[in-house]
Amino acid sequence: MSGKILYSYTGIFDTPDEIIHAAEAAVKQGYTKYDVNTPYPLHGMNKVMKLPASKLGYVALIFGLSGTLGALLSLWWVSAIDYPLVIGGKPFFSFPAYIPVIFEVTVLSAAIATVLAMLFFFFKLPNNAHPLHATDYMKKVSNDKYGIVIQAEDPRFDEISVRKFLESVHAKEINAVYWAEDEITHKHKIFEPKFLIFLLVVVIITSGTTYFTLNKLMFMLPFNWMMEQQKQNPQQKSLVFDDGFGMRKPVEGTIARGFLPYEFNGQPDLAGEKLINPIPISKESLQLGQTKYDIYCSPCHGYQGEGNSRLRGQFPNPPSLHSEKVRTWSDGRIFAVLTDGQNIMPSYTTQLSVDERWAVINYVRALQRALNAKESDLK
């Protein structure tokens, strides 16, 4: 094997005690670029090799805390700033409810970060191009033997003294390991251009697929079944009714909301007999009556009910409400006029609700009394 570059010398041991002694001796000898390979971790080996404590705990702590903070901030922003919704009567920032998610994110980020850090940064794996691979040494050490490796890079390395050293600690099978051609120029694969391009392609494919799925596929059959529904949509031809209209007129006798059935259409005198004003005369009803009267009645009957309105001068003139006839009409009779209309006066059912009509009637009564007051009213 001339011309090949030496990587290390290896020694094999049969028992754990032997390898512990060998490691102790290697430290004593002053070797620094050496390693111990065992099929499973041996207790106490870390101390013997004087390895400093692993820093991966700090990685877990830092990434875990970043996960906590990140989750907390995101949840706060989403719930209290971006789109606040009242859910279950709880405040926008309902911290107790966020704890489960924050906890899970903490664990997830800590676990992933620690393992990735361990593999890619601490171990510099994946690395299948190490000189120790595919050697007899590796076969043994992955199975049932324990081994020590003294690298040629070590300042105290010297083939003969290393051989002597390994013999002195009773190593069986002392071998030399050489670099293979392709291993010499081995670089860490993660940052290789080929791998980075591969990652880029994966990103493009993933994002493209996601876009296509969410923006296009979801709107195609069979995923958009709920977009085609058997219900009657507005403006759509009806398959049920002969005239093809989806929109129908209300059934005969339908009463609009806020309105009560009125039985006295065309029978104003009957209404005058039967209907009683349910609204007592009070400040509120008079104020309401005044407001509505001023809006709806005053254009024809005038503000004081005298018929001297702005529409005066037309034929026929709007009558005064202070005539003997109107004054003796019952409240219900006036209500019939408002509801049915009379002569040229239209029905005011669409402008005045039932209560408002009664309030107007109260106001009219007040107006009438004002113009025909008795002396006792002055007290």
């Binding site: 005690d17 899970e104 601490f122 994946p126």
Partner: protein, 455 residues
């Protein structure tokens, strides 16, 4: 009966084993072609999986109406199965992580297999929330990504916490399992001469070299992962219990649900692990690695967690009376005496009564008996979730809304099929990866560690 000598530490493995022998034994199923028994077993599980697929296709095409779910029992087999399978997964993490933190060496023979079961159980469980929605193809909506509707998911809902919890659990369990597999994959890489296998093992072992400088970090990370996995396991089933406990339904809204569910999950998980391990150790001749001592310890854990579940039943029952709330008092009477009394009593007999047999050492160490008890426990725990979910929903506050739920054929297909799905993965696992952790088992053999420990 031989008396135990407390001055000696009990060996994890029976008899003296050379490390080479262990490697050969554990790697054997991976190096031999599957035999007839394997193909028969696979055929059975694949047909069950076929039933599963058929049930799912019918459900996707025709909708949830194919199931028996209807108001008031809007959740039934779907969620019972979900909680059941998530619970099964917890035993694996408990064995790997919690027993590791307690330095219980006897976990080494079973940890790998149990972790694998966790991964497969959580995969099975995760299917149920996906399929029980009306439009499963919109499942992506569950994740909080910025979207054109400008809406976010409801972070205050336990159903969403489930999304985070189960995904985290699956991810971390996979990572934990994989990290444990790395040294074994490296061993297999060195053993094999088969070209393709060598490439696969090389890639997945990442080139692991068994260097002690690496072992040092590896052990720290394993400890950290175990330290995270433990509260994670508790949190996952706690969050699953929150699905019910945050509501106001009597029988659901009770503060003891979180630890009760966790104990129940460990209970049912151990029963399933024990059942499968008994079969595995027989088939692969691992009786000296997965010893009767190990099985006995698992049975003890079942006794403890089963008793915790029994405690929770008793406490719920007492406090429901103590509360004085009529609806609460009714729930428990209804469970025992109402239309679902048959399910309730199956649950009590299987969960509370049968594991009490494990007080007796003879029974703890008798394999046929413990196998049957564990099956009862599995049945009982499935029924426990059924009783909790279905009885509380079928009769809650308003008697005019009460109704009796009956499952449909499709419900049954999906239930049976989920077992097929789960066991198919397990079978494939036994032939693709070492079901016992080679490195961990070798580390606890007598004489595996250096004798002087004081340095």
């Amino acid at each position: 009966m031989s008396t135990v000598d407390y001055t000696r530490e009990v060996s994890v493995l029976e008899g003296k084993h050379a490390l080479r022998e262990l490697d050969d034994l554990i790697a054997k199923p991976l190096e031999t072609k599957p035999d007839k028994k394997f193909y028969i077993a696979l055929a059975i599980t694949l047909s069950m999986t076929g039933l599963f697929v058929l049930g799912l296709v019918l459900t996707f095409y025709y909708g949830i109406g194919m199931w028996g779910n209807n108001v008031p029992v809007a959740w039934a087999f779907d969620i019972v199965n979900f909680v059941f399978w998530v619970g099964i997964g917890h035993a694996g993490t408990l064995i790997s992580a919690i027993l590791f933190l307690f330095r219980q060496k006897w976990r080494t023979g079973i940890a790998r297999f149990a972790e694998g079961m966790t991964v497969f159980a959580v995969m099975t469980a995760g299917l149920f929330p996906l399929i029980h929605v009306g439009r499963p193809w919109l499942a992506g909506y569950l994740f909080p990504y910025p979207n054109q509707h400008s809406v976010w998911v409801n972070f205050t809902s336990p159903l969403l916490w489930d999304v985070f919890a189960v995904s985290t659990y699956l991810t971390v369990s996979l990572i934990f399992w994989y990290v444990g597999l790395i040294p074994d994959l490296a061993t297999l890489r060195e053993r094999t001469n088969h070209k393709i296998k060598k490439v696969i093992y090389s890639v997945f072992s990442l080139g692991w070299r068994f260097s002690n400088r690496h072992w040092q970090h590896y052990e720290m990370v394993y400890l950290i992962l175990a330290g995270f996995a433990t509260p994670l396991v508790l949190s996952v089933h706690t969050i699953v219990s929150f699905d019910f406990a945050v509501s106001v339904i009597p029988g659901w809204h009770t503060t003891i649900f979180p630890p009760y569910f966790v104990a129940g999950a460990v209970f049912s998980g151990f029963a399933m692990v024990q059942n499968v391990l008994i079969i595995v150790r027989k088939i692969f001749n691992y009786e000296h690695i997965i010893t009767v001592d190990t099985l006995e310890k698992m049975n003890k854990i079942m006794l403890v967690t089963g008793s915790m579940v029994g405690y929770a039943y008793a406490m719920e029952f007492f406090i429901s009376w103590y509360s004085g709330v009529e609806a609460e008092r009714f729930v428990f009477l209804n469970r025992a005496l109402g239309p679902y009394a048959w399910a309730y009593w199956i649950m009590v007999i299987c969960n509370v009564v049968s594991p009490q047999l494990f007080w007796f050492k003879k029974i703890r160490r008798a394999i046929p008996v413990m196998f049957v008890i564990a099956i009862f426990v599995n049945i009982g725990m499935w029924f426990e979730r059924f009783v909790i979910i279905v009885t509380s929903l079928s009769r809650d506050f308003l008697p005019s809304s009460w109704a009796y739920y009956t499952p449909t054929l499709v419900d049954g297909m999906i239930l049976i099929g989920s077992f097929g799905f789960f066991f198919t993965w397990i079978l494939l696992f036994t032939k693709a990866l070492p079901v016992v952790s080679m490195a961990e088992v070798k580390a606890v053999v007598d004489g595996a560690q250096p004798s002087h420990k004081d340095h």
